[in-house]
């Protein structure tokens, strides 16, 4: 079952654990890829596949937290779940701060494990969605005329048409036309939606 194409990347130096977790994931309808060392994972995993990562914390050479850093450093954003045999608080705090979805203690119950996976999956799909939104927003942004782009900047800054017209040295009526064409091109129905999208895409409001 490749529901929406979601893959769980398992990294654990313990072959028995790796095999068992993979079996559990398969039985629960997930795709999984197993890696016996962090190096194998960094070298071989397909960053383009949607999915999440499950890292053992205690591994030789590179531990789970370092692996997470290495992954982020390579520009891959992927939700990470940590598994550890020694659930010490400092490590879990560090992991959560670094953006871990969850920090689970071995032996891990299937329900908790799968819940974390699902959580990661949601997060992943949310992020993916958001990323897709931003992509389409940016693409639409490119279709705007320079004047419409200017108007957008003023609109998301919360300026009234009258003020925008004044700022740009034109009449309110012209701004109204630009504005409605811009809103149409951007595919948004409300100002609030535009602001949210602009914020997500990192577009700066025009402040005076």
């Amino acid at each position: 079952m490749t529901e929406g194409g979601f893959t769980v990347f398992l990294v654990d130096d313990d072959a028995d654990v790796l095999k068992a977790l993979a079996r559990l994931l398969r039985a629960s309808g997930y795709d999984s890829r197993e890696f016996a060392t962090p190096q194998d994972f960094l070298r071989e995993h397909d960053a383009s596949l949607p999915g999440c990562a499950v890292f053992d914390v205690v591994m030789p050479d590179l531990d789970g937290l370092e692996l997470q850093q290495a992954l982020t450093a390579s520009g891959v954003e992927r939700p990470v779940i940590f598994l550890t045999g020694r659930g010490d608080i400092p490590t879990s705090v560090r992991a959560m701060k670094a953006g871990a979805v969850d920090f689970l203690t071995k032996p891990v119950n299937a329900d908790a494990f799968l819940a974390a996976i699902d959580h990661a999956r949601e997060q992943e799909s949310r992020e993916r969605e958001a990323r897709a939104e931003v992509v389409s927003f940016t693409a639409r942004l490119a279709t705007l005329t320079p004047r419409e782009r200017q108007v957008l900047g003023h609109v998301i800054a919360g300026r009234l048409n009258k003020q925008i017209a004044y700022d740009l040295g034109t009449v309110e009526k012209t701004i109204k036309v630009h504005r409605s064409r811009m809103m149409e091109k951007m595919g948004v129905r409300s100002l609030a939606e535009l602001v949210r999208m602009a914020e997500r895409a990192g577009i700066q409001a025009q402040h005076y």
Binding site: D16, A20, R23, M59, G85, R86, K106, P107
Partner: protein
């Protein structure tokens, strides 16, 4: 007042001791002369055939230092004068007689002091021989040359010088033999043991019998000239003399000779003529010669008896002393004659085996007392002692009648002779129960401490151990839950479930191994020495420390020798040593860069055939002041260390007959090197 009285008392005492003794000697001199006159003088009324005064003076002189001799000589002079005047001797003759008397006494005393030495003189055949040579032969022979002039001065003929010399010689010689030894023994030899009452009676009986036998022999012999029985009669006192000498040693011999001499001479001078030659001079001379030749062997016999008796007493004393010392030291002594089978043991030795003092002693009785498990060992040790060239030792237990068990150490060696080989086995047994108990207690404490440190190591490693246990548990749980999910499906893949169950089984046994490794470490049981594969020990230690080393970012290089001989030891304690050494090495590397943290473990067989293990780190190594103190208890360089780890490691390795050292590596870091004796059969097979 008291002081002056005391001083007077002391002065009086000194006077008595200074003057009293010479006066006593003078009195004895006079009495001796009177006795001689009573026994009888020869026809010239001058020569006594038996002349005690010279011996009295000699005995006095020989017992005091030469510088005081003048005092005694001076004291004797008046006694001499009074005695001789009593028989009407003229003054010149008297003076010459005194001079020769003094001369023989002085020569005797000087020679005795010079050649024979300190008393006792008659407990030793050599000294007695010297006494006889000096006082009975040499000295009277020489001084007699002057003494022979005494009768000549009294009107004797110069032609009779030979006769006079002979008389003078015989009279002094006989006195030296008959009287001298007894007087000197009584005065000087205080080392003789006192005689019990019964023996005193025996001595008196022998003395009385001698007087009677001598007298009767003399009286009877007078009528038996022609019958030819005379020699037999003369020898009739001999059995009594021998009896006396054998029973009473020197004292008996001299006493008997004195009695025989006195009685025979008295009877010779005053009784019927004994010898065929009619005149008394010749008779007496013959008697003197007879007595001298009788006295010399008898006195020597007495001395020989005395010497043998003393040697026996010395041996018995030293045996008693050794036995006493051995008993005091709780040691039993024993001897086993391998030819006759005779067995001897001190009473204490018997009691150590719980055997009564009168019980028959043999190997069977001893074997029965020995703990059944130790009998063969003891037998082997005794066999080694008999047939080997070295003394054999062995420690064994004795079970006493009350059920009490005592530890004994035996040591035995065999005496060999060329003809028979081993002839006698002798040895000692010491009760070493207290030492064994103390050793046992020390061993128990050591084990207790070792156990406690093992527990603390396990405590330190609890995180790592939990991780080691969590891995298989994680696999088990995941596999089980995966199986549930597979089975819940409409068309479950049973092959997948079977494979999951296989994995569960495998992971369970893996968890079991972890638990049993930990349990072994925590277990507190009797030390059991067995064959230990040191390579395997390294591997299992690494398994125990697997996640700890990962957590500490330490990489491991393992280089184990092939064909490593087995060592003999307690695997748990040896594992503890390895754990400790690896943990120490890991601690030593905690402050260096992670990529440099390399732990190398190697094993090999040394040239001497020992099994060697090396645990080497790349840390900072040992500071010079640390080196000597590493194995001291409670010495630690760690913040939270107890300082017992290495000291216990060292004790454990030493108790295995091995050695543990920690030295700096040339290339940095330190290495712990331990060697253990290899199992011989295995080593030989290599």
């Amino acid at each position: 007042m008291r002081t002056s009285a005391g001083r007077f008392q002391r002065a009086l005492d000194r006077f008595i001791s200074d003057i009293g003794k010479p006066v006593a000697v003078a009195a004895a001199y006079f009495v001796g002369a009177e006795i001689a006159f009573f026994i009888g003088t020869l026809s010239d009324r001058i020569f006594a055939p038996f002349w005690p005064p010279n011996i009295v003076l000699f005995c006095a002189l020989v017992l005091v230092p030469p510088r005081r001799w003048w005092l005694y000589i001076l004291a004797a002079f008046p006694a001499h004068v009074i005695a001789e005047l009593g028989i009407g001797m003229d003054i010149w003759q008297l003076l010459v007689a005194f001079a020769t008397n003094v001369l023989v006494a002085v020569v005797n005393a000087a020679a005795m002091q010079r050649f024979v030495g300190e008393p006792p003189w008659f407990c030793d055949v050599r000294k007695t021989w010297l006494y006889v040579l000096i006082t009975a032969l040499a000295s009277p022979a020489v001084v007699g040359l002057a003494g022979a002039f005494v009768p000549i001065l009294g009107g004797g003929l110069l032609e009779d010088f030979g006769v006079h010399w002979t008389q003078w010689f015989a009279s002094n010689s006989l006195a030296s033999l008959a009287l001298g030894p007894l007087v000197l023994i009584l005065l000087a030899d205080t080392s003789l043991p006192s005689v019990p009452a019964l023996r005193t009676i025996e001595a008196v009986v022998i003395g009385a019998a001698l007087v009677v036998v001598c007298t009767v022999a003399f009286e009877v012999s007078a009528g038996t000239f022609e019958s030819g029985f005379l020699p037999a009669l003369l020898y009739s006192p001999l059995p009594l003399i021998l009896w006396s000498a054998v029973r009473f040693g020197s004292r008996g011999a001299s006493g008997a000779i004195l009695i025989v001499s006195a009685v025979l001479i008295w009877r010779a001078l005053n009784g019927p003529s004994l010898f065929i030659a009619g005149d008394p001079e010749t008779n007496v001379f013959a008697l003197q010669v007879f007595l001298i030749s009788l006295a010399i062997p008898v006195i020597l016999l007495g001395a020989a008896v005395e010497q043998a008796r003393r040697a026996e007493r010395t041996t018995r004393d030293s045996e008693e002393q050794i036995s006493f010392a051995a008993t005091s030291a709780n040691i039993g002594l024993w001897q086993h004659n391998l030819i006759t089978g005779d067995f001897w043991a001190t009473d204490h030795c018997r009691s150590m085996f719980g055997l009564p003092a009168n019980a028959a002693l043999n190997w069977e009785a001893i074997g029965n007392a020995v703990h059944a498990d130790d009998r063969d060992m003891l037998k082997d040790a005794m066999r080694t002692a008999i047939y080997g060239s070295m003394p054999a030792e062995c420690e064994f237990r004795v079970v006493l009648a009350g059920g009490e068990t005592r530890w004994m150490a035996a040591r035995a060696h065999a005496a060999h002779d060329d003809e028979h080989g081993p002839v006698q086995l002798s040895g000692l047994v010491a009760d070493i129960t207290e030492r064994k108990t103390a050793e046992h207690q020390i061993e128990m404490q050591r084990r207790e401490l070792a156990h406690l440190t093992r527990v603390s190591v396990v405590g330190e490693l609890s995180g790592a151990i939990a991780h080691e246990l969590n891995q298989p548990l994680t696999a088990i749980l995941a596999n089980a839950q995966a199986s549930q999910r597979i089975l819940a499906k409409d068309a479950p893949n049973l092959a997948d479930v079977a494979s999951a169950l296989d994995d569960i089984e495998q992971a369970s046994s893996r968890a079991g191994e972890v638990i049993s490794r930990v349990r072994r470490l925590l277990r507190k049981s009797e030390s059991r020495f067995e064959l230990v594969d040191v390579n395997e020990l390294f591997r299992s230690t690494l398994k125990l420390l697997h996640s700890e080393l990962i957590a500490r970012r330490i990489s491991v290089s393992l280089d184990l020798a092939e064909n490593l001989p087995m060592a003999i030891g307690d695997p748990v304690e040896l594992q503890q040593v390895l754990l400790n050494l690896v943990m120490n090495a890991s601690d030593a590397m905690s402050s260096i860069a992670t990529r440099k943290r390399l732990l190398s473990l190697t094993t090999r067989t040394t040239e001497e055939g020992f099994v060697e293990g090396v645990i080497s780190d790349q840390g900072r190594g040992l500071a010079p002041d640390q080196q000597g103190r590493l194995f001291q208890p409670f010495y630690t360089t760690k913040e939270h260390g107890l300082g017992l780890g290495l000291s216990i490691c060292s004790t454990i390795i030493n108790s295995h007959g091995g050695d543990l050292r920690i030295i700096n590596n040339e290339s940095g870091g330190a290495r712990a090197v331990f060697v253990l004796p290899a199992h011989k059969a295995m080593a030989a097979a290599q």
